[in-house]
Amino acid sequence: MSGRREQTRFGDPMSADKCDQGVVLFYTIHAVFQLESALRDRGLGSKPIPTPRHLSSDCGTALRFAWSHRADVEAEIARLNLEIQGIHRLDE
């Protein structure tokens, strides 16, 4: 469970520059956690973030990941049969 302390260690697993990151947009936060969990099982970090406004007017949550892991992310999305709005590179 989370608290204020949890929030401060809401650690970004990817300290790389913004241009090296991608984001998956979903229709439900449930799918965000499904993918985050699957990526964690593969040893890949990711982070739920507010959906970037320049990509969607949705007020929901997206999942940020290292762009270099894009193929793994897409493979997990396909394996889990997740419905997504799209995958974007954050410097687009």
Binding site: S2, E6, F10
Partner: protein, 387 residues
């Protein structure tokens, strides 16, 4: 006014709600209330995301317990009653025919009654034995001449604890979608909805799952279309006024009961592996029933073959509420008299309209508790002998 019993109360009303709760339940509720939590999945900031993660974890754990592969098909509702209403009102079309067991609670019979009045839905009671257990072969015969659009069956009766043969019923009505009312059995008896071909299931958090009140869950098979009871904000697809179709959001409009769901997660995590409490309940209940069978003037309405989850009985010459009041006042035994919100079941058991006394053991009870309850019933029966 009667003086309260001096002895410690013995809680034997687990069919109404479980008590005590595992320590993790209150711990999780308190943490959700006192640590920084937010509206789950609404805002994108850390506490909102972490609150949604609590919901996700509870959903995952409950799905695993119920044999659901994809947890988005388990949706949170306010309680078992809301889950039953969701399926009955969201699935049945006008003119539909519904099969029920004779033991259904009013949480099933009342929404069906409303559908009968508003949508010309027809309700057919399946043949059953004197304890209300569905006669599988007779139901198979009935299904040859009557097409059912839905079967609604309480897995275990809240009145006499009789458990239905779900696999047999599934086999007898292979083409009929089945809604299982698991109010008395989730967390108590093994349930594997996808393996057993159960299309819908509703349960509450506060009984066999040992969580708090105010939360329930409903399983909806992925290939079954059910209209939601509510539309509204979900934290997703906010740009549209059209309600989302994606699960679980489709069925979870409005702010979720995060604190209740956190408590449910505590209850689920208190279990060792897939531990269920049915064996313990059955052992205590059978001891109780064996004792009741030997008490003069006591009539038992529960199966006594070791399968029942609670005990229903009456005492000649005494009203059920008199008996329950005596048990509490003189012996500290807490139970439930009357119709237990299941008049249809009491009609079948021939105990309508007075009802019966229900004693329902749970996970925290011991053999000593049952001995006290039996001593109390024996004393009550002597009281009735003078009438």
């Amino acid at each position: 006014m009667n003086e309260p019993a001096e002895q410690e109360p013995i809680y034997l009303d687990h069919a109404a709600t479980s008590w005590p709760k595992p320590p993790a339940v209150s711990e999780y509720v308190v943490r959700a209330l006192t640590e920084l939590t937010a509206n789950a999945g609404r805002s994108g900031h850390g506490p909102s995301v972490e609150s949604a993660r609590i919901v996700f974890r509870a959903r995952q754990e409950l799905a695993a317990l119920l044999g659901v592969a994809r947890s988005e098909n388990v949706v949170f509702v306010r309680g078992c009653t809301e889950g039953l209403n969701l399926v009955i009102k969201g699935f049945l079309k006008p003119g539909a025919t519904v099969a029920v067991s004779p033991m259904e609670h009013n949480s099933v019979m009342r929404p069906l009654d409303a559908c009968a009045r508003q949508r010309a839905v027809r309700v057919v009671t399946l043949p059953a034995d004197p304890f209300g257990r569905i006669d599988v072969e007779a139901s198979r015969e009935l299904a040859r001449t009557c097409r059912f659009d839905l079967a609604v069956v309480c897995h275990a009766s809240n009145v006499n604890g009789a458990v239905q043969d779900v696999r047999g019923l599934r086999d007898a009505l292979p083409d009929t979608p089945l809604l299982l009312d698991a109010a008395q059995t989730a967390g108590v008896l093994p349930i594997d909805v996808e393996r057993e071909g159960i299309e819908f299931l509703a349960c509450s958090a506060h009984k066999g799952l040992l969580g708090p009140t105010g939360v329930g869950a409903c399983y909806l098979a992925p290939d079954r279309d059910v209209a939601p009871l509510l539309e509204g904000g979900t934290g997703s697809r906010s740009e549209s006024t059209e309600h989302p179709h994606v699960r679980p959001d489709r069925y979870e409009a409005g702010t979720l009961n995060l604190h209740g769901i956190a408590g449910l997660l505590g209850g689920l995590q208190s279990r060792a592996g897939d531990e269920l409490i049915g064996a313990h309940k059955r052992e205590l209940n059978q001891m109780l029933l064996d004792g009741l069978l030997g008490v003069h003037r006591v009539r038992v309405q529960s199966p006594t073959d070791g399968t029942a989850l609670c005990a229903s009985f009456t005492i000649d010459g005494l009203q059920p509420d008199e008996i329950a009041a005596f048990l509490e006042r003189e012996h500290g035994v807490l139970c439930r008299p009357g119709l237990q919100c299941a008049p249809a079941a009491h009609r079948h058991l021939h105990t309508f309209p007075r009802g019966s006394v229900r004693i329902s053991p749970g996970w925290g009870n011991t053999l000593d508790d049952i001995e006290v309850a039996l001593t109390a019933v024996r004393a009550a029966a002597k009281l009735g002998a003078g009438r």
